[in-house]
Symmetry: C2
Subunit: 254 residues, 2 copies
DNA sequence: CGCCGCGTTCGACAATGCTAAACACTATCG
DNA sequence: CGATAGTGTTTAGCATTGTCGAACGCGGCG
């Protein structure tokens, strides 16, 4: 195992700590949380502040995340090839399905949402790009764990929280669901993450037939389900979209 | 001047370099661009990759920005107090004005967009949160330079690109406009950044009466202007919104 | 095949960033 | 009202840490 740069690891830990805690954090809190001397933490924070990754409240002296992170994070989206290819197809999927569409990739024991098309009505909705979804309970997460070995390995290690009464937390049970997901080529989520919300998702592959992400539709159970299961035409639409994006990425059909 | 941590500065420079170049960059490019030994650059990149700030294309070995930046950047928005307070008011402004609304803060020689409400019609629009706008040609930028001394200092230093024939680049001329902006309490942009696009913006102050950001409306000249100038009712609506947000932040109306 | 380019690893040196202690400052409290 | 217990910040010195230059393995190209 090659050694990584210590100060960078510590800086990253600080950013993650600041991202976790809702409110701003003081220097002493940060230093003790990471087991560092105050001066050490201060030096790192000073540099991060100078680079714009961290901001300091002039009044209280507390620290919070900086604007440069937003700028760089947005740039990440611009470069993201999967997202660029998917843009064209997700709009159509949202329109034909009449529900919100999500595009996600595996990131650290969860699904990172890299694109989100609002449900096509005039209701107020909040953009969830950049947010994380759990691996074991959402359709996006299940489809990714089923096809991506890295994601699967992380699911086994991670603790699986029960969000609702229907959330699967038992490992053998989950494995059976993943097996079926691989067989049928898509995954669903019925009340397993949020009460009254269901979703379908299908995997997207690149030119080497490796899973690089997943598209899915999410909506209220009353609208997206019929007879206690997801409407077949929605499942078909999602799978079609996933195939189209995969083809755009260079994956051979068949 | 206190000294900053070298490895962190270099890591930040790499992230900014990767954000700048459209395509993925190779290790040698990065090392030579920053004047570093290949091994040094590699060590930093390896750590950044391990922390999720950078990703490496398995095929070509090239580097690009990582997903963790998107996650952290979004978290920045969640914590942002100005944005949280403004959310309520900007929707109303977009509806009453019938145009797109932007909320921006000063960041490194430019305006960083932290909130964006789409123009309320069914046209396809792309979210510009996380994008940068120039300081000297947009209404948001001018209003911020007029009231924020830090932004003003950076404007003087920076080079002022002429985007259209009407862009102001001459410093004394800009100073006169800023003087008028301070006097009247708002700024405009008529064809100075994009042809056929105009905007109005007003400053937002915190409890210490310091400028912390600006709200503005942007739209096609034909819609937002009349008789060659911005419609007075739009100007009034923008200023009202700015005042409301300022009051929410604790600024005394006195 | 031999060449260059790539990303990666190795090992040694010293510059670098870490630690601990003291510093100013504010708010709190007896 | 002075003492106290918190802040965040700065300083000085030591040795850990990151840096450097060179060599390595690999793949594509001529």
């Amino acid at each position: 195992m090659a050694k990584n740069i210590q100060s960078l690891e510590r800086a990253a830990a600080m950013l993650r700590l600041l991202a976790g805690g809702e409110r701003r954090l003081g220097l002493s809190d940060i230093a003790s949380s990471l087991g560092l001397a105050k001066a050490t933490a201060h030096g790192i924070l000073r540099t991060l502040q100078h680079e714009g990754f961290v901001e300091q409240d002039p009044g209280s002296g507390r620290y919070q995340l900086g604007a440069e992170l937003l700028r760089l994070g947005t740039t990440y989206l611009d470069v993201h090839e999967l997202r660029a290819r998917a843009l064209v197809w997700t709009d159509d999927l949202a329109r034909s399905g009449g529900e919100a569409v999500y595009l996600g990739v595996v990131h650290q024991q969860g699904v990172l949402i890299v694109h989100h098309v609002f449900r096509p009505d005039d209701s107020r909705q909040v953009l969830e790009v950049g947010a994380m979804q759990p691996m074991h309970s959402t359709a996006l997460g299940k489809v990714l764990t089923a096809f991506d070995p890295v994601a699967h390995a992380e699911l086994v290690e991670a603790e699986r929280e029960a969000f609702t009464a229907r959330t699967l937390t038992d490992l053998p049970e989950i494995e059976r669901v993943l097996e079926r997901t691989r067989a049928q080529g898509y995954a669903t989520d019925l009340d397993e993450t949020w009460e009254g919300v269901a979703s379908v998702a299908a995997p997207i592959f690149d030119r080497h037939r490796l899973p690089v992400g997943a598209v899915g539709i999410t909506g209220a159970v009353e609208r997206v389900c019929r007879d206690g299961d997801l409407r077949p035409e929605l499942v078909a639409a999602v799978r079609d979209t996933a195939r189209s994006v995969s083809r755009d990425l260079g994956a051979k059909p068949f």
